[in-house]
């Protein structure tokens, strides 16, 4: 039973570029949430997708957008990258928007130079 899978594991981008991160939820899960974790800080909620729609959003600018596909997988897109976007991006999946708890992936380490 595969857990949450994220790709790529590491990524280096230049300021101003755009990036797409991908997440496959745990088998049986239908909800995907994305978190940003800066070095030395706890994860910060970006948004949550359920039934292919953004259901909740944290305090992140519109440069951060996402998508959920019919197979429940999800993408996180960040436009016009800033140095401050360098972080570990975590995907967490759950059933029915949190029922039974959340399972996290190992994250994508994004470095913006």
């Amino acid at each position: 039973d595969a857990g949450v899978t994220q790709s790529p594991t590491h990524l280096i981008k230049t300021r101003g570029q755009q990036v797409t991160l991908r997440c496959s939820p745990k088998s049986g899960h239908d909800t995907v949430s994305w978190y940003q974790q800066a070095l030395g800080q706890g994860p910060q909620f970006i948004f949550q997708y359920y039934e292919e729609e953004e259901r909740q959003r944290g305090n992140f600018p519109d440069r951060f957008s996402g998508h959920q596909f019919p197979n429940y997988s999800s993408e996180l897109n960040v436009n016009a990258l800033l140095l401050g976007d360098s972080a570990l991006y975590l995907c967490a999946s759950s059933l029915n928007r949190g029922l039974g708890g959340y399972t996290f992936g190992s994250g994508t380490r994004l470095t913006v130079v």
Partner: protein
Amino acid sequence: LAKTTQPISMDSYEGQEVNITCSHNNIATNDYITWYQQFPSQGPRFIIQGYKTKVTNEVASLFIPADRKSSTLSLPRVSLSDTAVYYCLVGVGDGSSNTGKLIFGQGTTLQVKP
């Protein structure tokens, strides 16, 4: 939304019992207390969750006093591999806030020494 306060860091030695206390003075009646563990460059992992009194599983125990304004995560006989950051979260039954998002603080960095 109940705010949590926990120590920034703790040190311990292998084989000792470690207790990490979290304060949550404004916990709501329907809030649960959930603890996550995070190793470097990995996502947080659910450890234990409770509502009141004591909960025990194969890796930890959670003690919650009657007023529920604090909780203590107890790790028995820690090993080097228990070195990690531990987060205390307060929220609805899945550990999230009532809007469905997990609210993480800075967590407690536990360093286990040989």
